[in-house]
């Protein structure tokens, strides 16, 4: 890898041993992909916002950065809180959560506490190079905004934030951003998270391009998050909708797709749990990734004047939750019995196991993948089980 004189000095310890190790991490990471150099990033986003009592190495490294007085060099946002106060057992597993938050804030991180950083706290533009972590945010930034980030891990994200650099490889290059799989849709009723879940399985780490469908922003967010859970998709395209897929020819870089698949209504429905299994769920969770203001407003309309049949939580971006709390609709959903939460549903709900395992029903493809004991239902299924939809 070609390093500048300044970068070589940092590696040699010119800015201290800890800074040297941050840069060395990026150099070794880049070498594994034959990256020719390190390039500047516009912003960073960190995924390691939880203090999990059990994992120790990451927190030790963060402490070393704080002790060395290091600060982030570029605007850096942070993933959601894990729901420390949500359940007594969470206080054990997320012990020292407050200490960890103070550590990250001492590094100069923006305390937005949302995985949907790209709506408000950290807004990249088309073509920006980013050093992000959080698979759902990375896929949104690449696909929907046209910014450029590889799937960066926890801690590598922080090394990028404090150096303002990332190794140049992968999705930073035009040629790796072209479509590889053409996904044709043969469906009557759209269910974007289920579609994302299926595409992730098929594509694994290749770039899928979908034939045109007028997805809204929340659908793009939730579909991408699912693709990055059941698969390792970094970027997808939708013909005539996403910036690098104005038409199929451009999306595939003038080449033929390596594979063409058709996803049918039957395929989509296969992700939904059977109705009697859905009925067994004792809890319903929305918002993985967290709900935006548009999304929470739209979903809330179904709850006006109703009472929920089983516990329902909306996991909302903190900024959006603040905005929502000033509306009349907010009172309506509270009256219906819905809980509005600002933390990550995955972390918050992970620990119900062992204290009387309770099945969760969710319309999130990502939460369905990660959370043990979770069933998937499309929006109508979930609203029906919540008791706010007839049928």
């Amino acid at each position: 890898m070609e390093l500048t004189q300044e970068q070589r000095a940092i590696l040699d310890g010119g800015d201290g041993e800890v800074m040297g190790n941050c840069l060395r991490t990026l150099v070794q990471y880049g070498r594994a992909f034959d990256a020719p150099r390190l390039v500047p990033i516009k912003s960073a986003h960190l995924t390691g916002s939880f203090k999990i009592f059990f994992y120790t190495a990451y927190y030790e490294i963060v402490s070393r950065l704080v002790d060395a007085g290091i600060k982030v060099k570029v605007p850096t946002t942070l993933n959601p809180r894990p729901g420390y106060d949500y359940a007594p057992q969470n206080r054990i597993v997320f012990k020292s959560q407050k200490w960890h938050e103070a550590q990250l804030e001492a590094l100069g991180v923006t305390p937005n506490y949302s995985c949907v950083c790209y709506h408000g706290a950290n807004n990249p533009e088309y073509g920006d190079v980013l050093g992000w972590a959080e698979s759902s945010a990375i896929i949104y930034a690449n696909s929907v905004i046209g910014a450029r980030s590889n799937r960066n891990s926890i801690m590598v994200d922080l090394c990028q934030a404090v150096t303002g650099l990332t190794p140049e490889f992968g999705y930073l290059y035009d040629e790796n951003r072209k479509g590889e799989i053409l996904v044709k849709l043969d469906i009557e009723e759209m269910d974007a998270p289920a579609l994302g879940f299926l595409i992730g399985r098929i594509a694994v780490d290749r770039n899928p391009v979908l034939t045109h469908y007028p997805f809204n922003d929340a659908e793009l967010k939730n579909m991408g998050a699912a693709m990055a859970s059941s698969g390792g998709v970094t970027m997808f395209g939708v013909e005539g909708l996403t910036p690098e897929a104005p038409d199929l020819d451009t999306a595939f870089g003038g080449k033929e797709p390596a594979e063409t698949v058709t996803i049918t209504q039957k395929d989509l429905d296969s992700i939904r749990a059977e109705r009697d299994v859905q009925r067994e769920a004792s809890q319903i969770a929305f918002g993985c990734p967290q709900m935006t203001i548009e999304e929470v407003t739209e979903i809330s309309r179904h709850f006006v004047g109703k009472k929920i049949a089983k516990p329902v939580s909306f996991h909302v971006m903190p900024d959006a939750a603040d905005e929502f709390s000033r509306t009349d609709l907010y009172q309506e959903v509270l009256n219906a019995g819905v809980q509005i939460q600002r933390h990550c549903p995955l972390a918050g709900l992970s620990l119900r196991i062992g204290l009387g395992k309770k099945d969760v029903l969710t319309p999130s493809g990502k939460l369905y993948y990660y959370l043990e004991g979770t069933r998937y239902g499309n929006l109508d299924d979930v609203l029906r089980e919540a008791g706010v939809l007839d049928g």
Binding site: Y29, A133, S135, M155, D157, G232, E372
Partner: protein, 154 residues
């Protein structure tokens, strides 16, 4: 002895029993689960979407196509590798930024690493059987598979 030429991603040499799957692995979904938080069970695949559900990957040479899912993957591998409680080596068909990160972090910050090699061809699954005695030699860019006891006696 069967010798496969591979591409070295991270150097070093390790030997162990192969654990083979054709299904990509989501390390976050697999490892960030309560049973792995107990001191005695730290590396069990607890992803119920995966065929290796409940299998322990500690000290195994893990042979799989690629890594999928969350960017927390680095946290999982950093911890397992830095504490010497993870797989002995990783053999992947397609190298991946998340898979590499945890191993690089452990190397840079804790001076402990495991070899990671890439072998793209699908004949990987015919040449390396589950349970085989495998040496991953990142320094020589070789995967060496010892003959199974059945073959050796015939």
């Amino acid at each position: 002895m069967t010798t496969l030429k591979c591409k070295t991603v991270i150097g070093g040499r390790a030997r162990g029993k192969a654990m083979v799957t054709r299904q990509p692995i989501n390390f976050t979904a697999a490892m960030c689960k309560v049973p792995n938080m107990l001191p005695s069970k730290r590396a069990e695949i607890r992803d119920s979407h995966h065929e290796l559900f409940r299998k322990n990957i500690a000290d195994r040479v893990l042979v799989f196509p690629s890594c999928i899912g969350s960017t927390h993957t680095g946290l999982v591998l950093l911890d397992l590798v830095s504490m010497g409680r993870g797989p002995a080596a990783l053999v992947v068909q397609r190298n991946d930024s998340l898979l590499i990160s945890g191993v690089v972090l452990s190397d840079v910050w804790f001076d402990r690493r495991i070899p990671v090699v890439e072998y793209e061809d699908d004949d990987l699954y015919e040449l390396v059987e589950d349970g085989a005695d495998v040496t991953v030699d990142g320094d020589a860019s070789e995967i060496r598979v010892a003959p199974s006891s059945r073959e050796a006696s015939s």
